[in-house]
């Protein structure tokens, strides 16, 4: 395919291979005239810019020369590897002169471009060649058998390769050997070629077929084989190329007879020794394999003869040919369509006619090549055989699981060796492991999980911790697995219960000494002073007035004590009034403690006191609000605190068991992209999840978006290091996020499970069709005919069961059941074990992991693949499956035994009951002193509440029918809000609200709410029905302001939150 053309009648020389960009130098050809009959000569340099699709070549410089040229070459003399110096142009002139030009100066437009010249030769210098080993050596040939060797470092005095051959003849070609640097060959039109050895300074062999018809127009050494060369003949009677081997120099090794008329020039590709270009008087440009004689390619040319042809040294697919019609054309031998170019050529030609009218006749010159245009098909085929330079010999590609597929081919043998060369064509599959520490730590984590040795693991981590913070985190994590975790948390925060307890007792004792003896008598005064009034009130049983009087007189202690006698409501009111009056520093704390309003503390404490706030929460918070409070504190630390405090938020989240938030917080603080820092995170998360599983029987099955992302990132990393089994184990298995499901499928199959589809058509279920919901403009709506030979992850209209994990006959839904009830899930475990089922992951619902470790997997279940991870799947054992089906699996038992209420029915879901407090098995020593405090004191109250909670819940009464509407209305509203809320924070708020409203429902069940409150709530519900939330809010305010705070504080604030949100979202 033609790439470029220049309208010049000129000799041509490509810039050396080192040079970038690629230049083509042209020097006006001697002995040829164009239609202008101009005898002006010039040296021009063009740039080959292939990114320009037009046929024009960019002219970089023109130098008007006083010489016309027979030969032009461009040597890399003094060129460095970067090509900064653009070598030297060497020209053979008409009068025995050799001129050296500096191409960089020509390009720069310099006037002084000639480096040196010498006219030692006789007659025109037709032959020039640069030694490729010593680029300062140039050989030249002219008439009278003259051959000179020029040293560009010392240009003045040339050497001769030996005595002149006799009889004297013109030297038409000269060429340095391509393998041996001191060997030179010359040839003359007489048909004789002479090989010179410069070390011996004499001709060593003469090559001739004695036909007298070889009229040498071309000579070229084999690029690879030192003893072989070709000679081309210009004689129409013998238009051949002879291939000679000097080891057998009596006759040509091979004769290429592909041209019909004499050959004018040849060029042997340095990039591929199987490509020899030749052009002849038959107007053909052929590319043949001189080693076989086969013609590989015929260039589509015009009917003009070409007198010079050159391969581009830098771009092996490019060649240039100079034709007698005054044009230099640049071609690619790779074929291709010329459609895009052709139009431009025509345009250019027609537009150029105007100013190319040398005769002034007004008639354009006959367009020489136009006839070809129509005849020529626009598609040009490439070489018959692929050139060597496009045959990729080596490759390495990564594939899934950190595998690297490599292949390489021993360098192409030279043609002689071809027969005996029997290569082994192997492909190697290697495992690439780059993160050793990551893997070993991951391994340790897996072992810890497998052996349930969490405490040990945490301890090791504590010991190895580099920073105090890290140590804290691990200490907090460790506490989760110990008894009395709240107490231990407190200790970690610097509050030792025992110490406090001791102090407390001591004080009590001291106080008791001051108690008045109860045996004496006393007056009951009913005088008109305060005392008297109080007495009167007491005597009439009017506690309320008595308390008011006491308060009025600032007799707080009396007021409180009286209020206790006056009942809960009065007490609460009195407390409130007391707090309103009291201003001491710790009032707020006391307020919170008494009012059980930990939220207040958490929300408003100075963040510097986060430890204290956390301690308070740890001590007092009810199990069902404990997590939320820790969360809240964590969130504040994260949002408001400085960077130091932000990291401390992690500790709060650990206490809260809030894995998702821990992930979020940690990710924010650490650079998570490095495998080891991800490992840091995952270690904590996995341990925390384990802890949460142990302490809160539910809630572990849900994997948050962020956690899922991190876990799958982790699994990806493990997979990339070849630990497929481990990756499967860590991958969250109860999510329907497509990317995780895809990864799971990929991992399963990567493990070498049977590839469904090509072995067996016995797939138990229909394969997935091309998913309809797929994006992609066209393909999404169609399917490849019968491509659905295997199910892929579900999409579109299918509900997304993650059951696409295919192994044989497994019911696809088996894995898809959301583990709402653990027992149910395992009834669908496949009838035969899958050794590496991912269900054995860390993220399983608790029951799965409760399998006793002594259950070893039977030998015959081992897959044939070596498992790189120690993870065994206990599912393999039918017995363990039995065990799993019992909800009270081993580990929960252990915590159950320490639970104060051993009579709890085993299978009953505990919900919040067994949450942190239950799990810690609050030792009696902890709660006792508090209960023994002043009767009716708020502390004792708290604990009574806690302890009575389980029984209450278990014997939950139904909500009275008339109030059921409240529950349904509120829940419905929350659902509506949830579905239209977008930001996660709002969603969390709503979730929280939904939980907290349980308090309201409980109160409704127990019918402890006053009628005013319930009727107020019904009003709110009605306003919700009519979507009049502002009205609801007004009612809300009314209820709160008129009712007893302690009665409503558990649920009214959240109700307000819900109403506000609903109002905001306009649901």
């Amino acid at each position: 395919m033609k790439l470029k053309e220049v309208d010049r009648t000129a000799m041509q020389a490509w810039s050396p291979a080192q040079n970038h960009p690629i230049y083509l130098a042209t020097g006006t050809s001697a002995q040829q005239l164009d239609a202008t009959f101009s005898t002006n000569a010039s040296l021009e340099i063009f740039e080959l810019d292939l990114s320009d699709p037009s046929l024009d070549m960019k002219s970089c410089a023109t130098f008007s020369s006083s010489h016309r040229y027979h030969k032009l070459i461009w040597g890399p003399y003094k060129m460095d590897s970067k090509g900064d110096v653009s070598g030297v142009l060497i020209a053979g002139g008409e009068n025995g002169n050799i001129i050296l030009y500096d191409p960089s100066k020509i390009i720069a437009g310099d006037k002084e471009v000639v480096i040196a010249q010498n006219d030692k030769h006789t007659g025109p210098v037709r032959a020039l060649d640069v030694n490729i080993f010593q680029t300062n050596l140039v050989a030249s040939g002219a008439n009278e058998s003259e051959i000179y060797i020029w040293d560009l470092n010392n240009f003045a005095t040339p050497m001769t390769p030996g005595a002149k051959t006799q009889p004297p003849e013109d030297i038409s070609c000269i060429a340095w050997n391509r393998q041996v640097q001191h060997i030179l060959a010359s040839a003359s039109p007489s048909g004789r070629a002479t090989v010179w050895d410069l070390r011996k300074n004499e001709p060593i062999i003469k090559v001739s077929d004695h036909s007298n018809r070889m009229h040498c127009s071309g000579l070229a050494w084999h690029p690879d084989v030192a003893t072989q060369m070709v000679l081309a003949s210009e004689d129409d009677r013998l238009p051949v190329i002879q291939m000679w081997d000097l080891r057998f120099a009596s006759s040509p090794l091979r004769v290429l007879e592909n041209h019909a008329r004499g050959i004018l020039a040849i060029a042997w590709s340095m990039a591929d020794p199987e490509l020899l270009l030749s052009c002849g008087k038959d107007a053909k440009i052929l590319c043949s394999n001189p080693n076989t004689g086969e013609v590989l390619y015929e260039l589509p040319t015009n009917t003009q003869w070409c007198f010079d042809i050159q391969w581009c040294p830098r771009n092996p697919a490019v060649l240039s040919a100079a034709s007698f019609d005054g044009r230099i054309s640049v071609y690619s031998i790779m074929g291709g369509s010329t459609d895009g170019l052709r139009q431009k050529q025509v345009d250019k030609l027609s537009s150029s006619f105007g100013n190319l009218d040398p005769f002034g006749t007004g008639q354009p010159l006959p367009p020489l090549q136009i006839p070809q245009q129509t005849a020529q098909h626009s598609i040009v085929l490439p070489l018959k055989k692929p050139p060597k330079w496009i045959r990729r010999p080596v490759g390495a590609s990564f594939s899934f699981g950190g595998k690297l597929v490599t292949f390489e081919n021993v360098r192409m043998p030279s043609h002689q060796g071809a027969e005996q060369q029997q290569q082994q064509h192997h492909v190697f599959i290697s495992q690439v492991v780059t993160e050793k520490e990551f893997l070993s730590r991951s391994d340790q984590l897996q072992q810890a999980v497998q052996s349930q040795g969490f405490i040990n693991y945490c301890q090791k981590k504590i010991d190895a911790s580099q920073t105090e913070f890290e140590k804290n985190v691990w200490s907090f994590l460790k506490v989760n697995f110990e008894d009395d975790s709240r107490g231990k948390y407190l200790e970690l925060l610097g509050y030792r219960k025992e110490d406090l307890g001791k102090k407390h007792i001591k004080e009590e004792k001291e106080e008791s000494e001051f108690l008045p003896s109860s045996g004496g008598t006393f007056n009951i005064s009913v005088s008109g002073d305060i005392d008297g009034l109080i007495t009167q009130a007491l005597l009439t049983g009017n506690f309320e007035s008595a308390v008011d009087l006491c308060l009025h007189d600032n007799r707080m202690a009396d007021a409180i004590i009286l209020a206790i006698a006056g009942g809960q409501e009065l007490l609460a009111r009195t407390q409130k009034k007391y707090f309103a009056k009291s201003q001491s520093k710790i009032t707020r704390l006391i307020t919170a403690v008494v009012m059980k309003n930990w939220k207040e503390i958490v929300e408003s404490c100075d963040l510097k006191n986060w430890r204290e706030a956390l301690a308070a929460v740890l001590t007092y918070a009810k199990p069902d609000e404990f997590s939320a409070l820790c969360d809240l504190l964590g969130t504040r630390l994260e949002n408001e605190g400085d960077s130091l405090l932000q990291t401390q938020a992690c500790l709060c989240y650990i206490c809260a068991g809030n894995v998702e938030k821990l992930v979020a917080c940690w990710t924010k603080a650490q650079d998570g992209s490095h495998p080891l820092s991800l490992q840091d995170l995952i270690e904590k998360v996995v341990i925390l999840r384990k802890a949460v599983q142990l302490t809160q029987a539910m809630d572990t099955s849900t994997v948050g978006v962020l956690l899922a992302a991190k876990m799958s990132q982790y699994a990806n990393l493990l997979a990339a290091q070849g630990s497929i089994a481990a990756a499967l184990a860590f991958l969250p298995d109860n999510t329907n996020q497509p990317n995780i499901m895809q990864l799971r499928d990929r991992l399963c199959r990567a493990q070498g499970e049977p590839v469904a589809g090509h072995e067996s058509p016995k797939i138990p279920y229909e394969k997935q069709q091309l998913p309809k919901g797929r994006p992609g403009p066209v393909a999404g709506h169609h399917q490849m005919p019968r491509v659905q030979t295997q199910q892929y992850y579900p999409h579109g209209e299918n509900p997304p069961p993650p059951g696409f994990i295919m192994h044989g006959n497994v019911n696809p839904n088996a894995a898809g059941q959301l583990p709402t009830s653990p027992g149910h899930m395992h009834t669908q475990v496949p009838p035969y074990p899958q050794p590496q089922r991912p269900q054995n992951g860390w993220n399983d619902p608790p029951a799965l992991n409760r399998v006793p470790k002594k259950k070893k997997m039977p030998e015959n279940f081992m897959p044939p693949v070596p498992i790189t991870s120690p993870i065994m799947n206990p599912l393999g054992d039918p017995q363990s499956q039995m065990l799993q089906q019992q909800p009270s699996a081993p580990v929960p038992l252990s915590s159950q035994s320490s639970f104060p209420q051993p009579h709890l029915p085993g299978g009953q879901p505990f919900h919040g009951v067994q949450q942190p407090l239950g799990q810690t098995g609050m030792p009696p020593s902890f709660s006792k002193p508090n209960i023994e405090g002043a009767p009716g004191a708020p502390i004792g109250n708290t604990f009574q509440h806690v302890q009575s909670l389980p029984t209450k819940k278990i014997t939950k009464k139904p909500i009275p029918d008339e109030h059921l509407i409240l529950k349904t209305t509120f829940e419905d509203l929350i659902q509506r809000c949830l579905s239209s809320a977008t930001d996660p924070q709002t969603k969390r708020k709503l979730d929280d609200a939904s939980k907290r409203l349980e308090f309201l429902y409980d109160k409704l069940r127990e019918q402890t709410l006053s009628p005013t409150i319930t009727s107020g709530l019904h009003n709110i519900a009605r306003s919700i029905e009519t979507r009049n939330y502002s009205e609801g809010l007004t009612m809300h305010t009314h209820i709160v302001s008129t009712s007893n705070f302690s009665e409503t504080s558990a649920f009214m604030p959240v109700l307000k939150v819900v109403l506000t949100q609903a109002n905001k979202l306009g649901v």
Partner: protein
């Protein structure tokens, strides 16, 4: 670090030009100058020849597996100017489609991210890039970019599917508004980035100019959820560049020289997690590179055939140099 776990004797009768594992890493496709494409089951360290696909009339340069959600589909391209799409059906591999729209050797094939549907990009020595889109019922729609790279396109590589304006793919059920892009490298020494316009036409978006000789291969790094896009390019000039674009909106790419080798670099391949680059050079050496913390690319291993161990290959390398 690098250990050979399976040696597959392909029994190809001539040079192997490409070897690619499928999505799961369980099947190996190879292609060769012997005009054949072979598929092996290489699970568990084995090698079972599944298919020996004949159909090309010249050396086969590259093979590419389609995403398995579309079935078992393999594309191959050859010096015979053809692209063949092979498909497995009932356990037999057969030619499913033949694309003969190029005028010269087809040097590279690459499947688009599966999110876009079945789209295959093909780069040819005729300078054009064609895009085959499956439209159902065995039909493929062809779009062609003519003169993508003068005198030849050597490599094509798709950008990962990323929804604009988000760092991670949203797993929402909605159809994301993907912007389709791919990179190509060619004999004009350029890497070009192409983008599908809203009217479905492909437009040159960017020229990455750093190489001084043919670009032999380009590899767009898989997305790992970061906003940075990365492309590796290698060239006849022995150089490997890593191009990065931190800001998708400005679309400015800056090159960093990974290394200058002494010989042509034929192939670059990213690991799935995009942190390791395998570089295959003309000296028949495969090296693995990783970006260090300070942003420099360091060679972490030589991969040597058969031996696999790093030390062995390093020793040999030294011997060669002596």
């Amino acid at each position: 670090m690098v250990s050979v776990i399976n040696t597959v004797d392909t029994s190809h009768e001539d040079m192997i030009h490409d070897a690619q594992m499928d999505y799961y890493g369980t099947r190996l496709a190879t292609c060769s100058s012997d005009r054949s494409v072979k598929i092996f089951d290489v699970r568990n360290g084995g090698q079972i020849l599944i298919a020996d696909l004949r159909g090309h009339e010249g050396p086969v340069w590259q093979v590419a597996w389609a995403h398995p959600m579309y079935g078992n589909i393999l594309a191959s391209c050859s010096y015979d100017r053809k692209v063949i799409i092979w498909r497995e059906e009932n356990g037999t591999w057969e030619k499913s489609h033949e694309h003969a729209g190029h005028d010269s050797s087809v040097n590279s094939v690459c499947w688009a991210p599966h999110d876009y549907g079945l789209i295959l990009a093909c780069g040819s020595s005729d300078g054009a890039i064609s895009l085959l889109t499956y439209t159902g019922e065995g039909q493929w729609e062809v779009k062609k970019i003519n003169n993508a790279h003068t005198i030849g396109c050597n490599a094509v590589s798709w950008a990962p599917a990323v929804v604009p304006g988000s760092l991670i793919d949203h797993p929402s059920g909605q159809k994301p508004n993907y912007i389709k892009r791919f990179a190509s490298g060619g004999c004009d020494n350029l890497i070009k980035l192409w983008k599908e316009e809203e009217d479905g036409q492909w437009k040159e978006e960017q020229k990455l100019e750093a190489h001084s000789d043919w670009v032999r291969d380009v590899a767009w790094a898989p997305s790992i959820g970061l906003p940075t896009s990365t492309i590796a390019g290698c060239s006849q000039d022995g150089r490997v560049f890593i191009w990065t674009c931190d800001d998708a909106s400005s679309n400015t790419w800056s090159p960093k020289l990974l290394h200058k080798f002494n010989d042509v670099v034929w192939h670059v391949s990213w690991s799935i997690t995009a942190n390791i680059l395998a570089v295959s050079g003309g000296d028949n050496k495969v090296t693995l590179w990783k970006e260090s913390v300070d942003g420099q690319w360091v060679c972490i291993s030589d991969v040597n055939k058969g031996q696999g161990s790093v030390s062995a290959s390093v020793t040999e390398g030294q011997q060669n140099e002596q």
